[in-house]
């Protein structure tokens, strides 16, 4: 299992989702990614994208205009 940190600060939706999607393509089932963002829209978009594509958000935090989510990769295509 590997873990990756992804910096998506200053990107506006849906760019953080696109970056996450591209990152997940390089990972395997069970791996995790923590993505750090400044656009509050990610708190809605990343969980929605994860649900649709079979991944799980295992943690999400919000502090001082910084939004951080950790996603565990589900079944890969």
């Amino acid at each position: 299992m590997s873990h990756v940190d992804l910096d998506a600060r200053r990107l506006l939706c849906p760019m953080p989702v696109i970056r996450l999607q591209d990152q997940i393509k390089t990972l395997h089932t069970g791996d995790t990614v923590t993505v750090t963002c400044t656009d509050p829209g990610v708190m809605n978009d990343i969980p929605a994208w994860s649900r649709i594509n079979g991944h799980s958000v295992i943690n999400s935090e919000e502090e001082e205009y910084l939004y951080q989510l950790t996603i565990q990769v589900g079944a890969t295509p």
Binding site: R10, L12, M15, G41, D45, I52
Partner: protein
């Protein structure tokens, strides 16, 4: 066992592509959505920046549609490739800077490449004949199919019966009889179909799916191109056109003045990319300076900015200029009066 056919659906987040996807899924086809991010999409952006929009749901409609229909959604970044579509549209622009026909051709072409790479069988869109003046006329439908290279692999379920048979229909992958013959600008048939399918919540985009159909946004884009003498653009440029009040006193520079706190916070992130101003003696917004102002221009910029702060009626206020390289300069100036800013300066 018969083959499971697979279609990719161009999902904008609006009702038409939602319906098109659902009716094809109902025929037993495996459908996944694809959404192209050109940089100009209305989704999210300004909602994310402007605090006053806090009450509106910050959902991305394409993702929301995909979730409602239970299909996967692939969001593809086409920002770089889209520049050529916008800068050199073969079929020209619509009412504003929207190159809709070229845009549709481009998107279907990208979807066609995608189905080849991902082993899908055909493409569907929510296009309806006559729905939009430029890209969805009866004459333009075959142009999109042909110029994109998708030809017979492009199926428009909502208008299929008004169009020549496509491969999925001819081969019986889908039943043409169960498709539709919608045409014209009326939204009634779509709303009736939505009711029939039990879809009662959907986005109703005003105008089009992107900022390029917006007159004020288009003006700012044209201004940017004219004053830079170059049509090339970066993501930051097109993002900035969505933010703040834009005031151009001359060809050398323009000011982008934050309209509220959310924009201020967003623009503060650009202090290393733009020279910027803020008032130090009174509260007020910040401004970014785009272009190459001379020293007189900078004085003028400070006076304009002061006009939008709490010290607007004072004889003198202090404004700090921060340069991209971190150097700071102070100005003590008199704010411009409201009549001193000609209407033409506002973009």
């Amino acid at each position: 066992m018969s083959k499971q056919y697979k279609a990719v659906s161009l999902v904008s987040g609006g009702l038409d592509s939602m319906l098109a996807s659902q009716v094809i899924m109902d025929q037993g086809i495996h459908v996944e959505g694809i959404n192209f991010f050109t940089g100009f999409c209305v989704e999210g952006h300004t909602h994310a920046i402007r605090k006053q929009d806090d009450k509106k749901p910050k959902r991305n409609n394409a993702l929301w549609v995909a979730e409602q229909l239970g299909m996967k959604l692939h969001i593809i970044d086409v920002i770089e490739e889209y520049k050529d579509v916008l800068i050199n549209p073969k079929y020209g622009y619509g009412a504003n800077m929207n190159p809709c026909l070229d845009c549709k051709i481009f998107m279907v072409k990208k979807a066609h490449e995608w189905i080849k790479e991902n082993d899908f069988d055909f493409i569907i869109t929510g296009e309806v004949i006559g729905q939009r003046p430029m890209s969805q006329r009866k004459q333009t439908m075959p142009i999109i199919a042909h110029q994109s290279g998708a030809d017979e692999l492009l199926l428009r379920p909502l208008s299929a019966k008004n169009l020549p048979e496509t491969l999925p229909e001819r081969e019986g992958w889908v039943d043409r009889e169960q498709l539709f013959d919608f045409s014209g600008r009326s939204r009634k048939p779509q709303i009736a179909l939505a009711n029939e399918l039990g879809i009662d919540d959907y986005a109703q985009p005003a105008g089009g799916c992107c900022f390029l159909t917006d007159a004020s946004y288009s003006n700012k884009l044209v201004d940017l191109w004219q004053n830079r003498n170059d049509k090339n653009y970066e993501m930051d440029d097109i993002m900035m056109l969505k933010v703040g009040r834009h005031i151009r006193p001359n060809a050398r520079f323009k000011l982008i003045i934050a309209r509220e706190e959310g924009e201020c916070r967003f623009m503060e992130g650009y202090r290393k990319e733009f020279d910027h101003l803020h008032c130090t003696s009174h509260t007020g917004p910040m401004a970014l300076i785009d272009g190459k102002p001379n020293s007189e221009d900078l004085q003028l910029a400070a006076r304009i900015l002061a006009r939008f702060g709490k010290g607007r009626s004072e004889e003198q206020v202090d404004v700090e200029l921060g340069l991209k390289n971190g150097v700071k300069r102070q100005y003590s100036i008199k704010p411009l009066g409201s009549d001193d800013i000609p209407k033409e300066w506002y973009l």
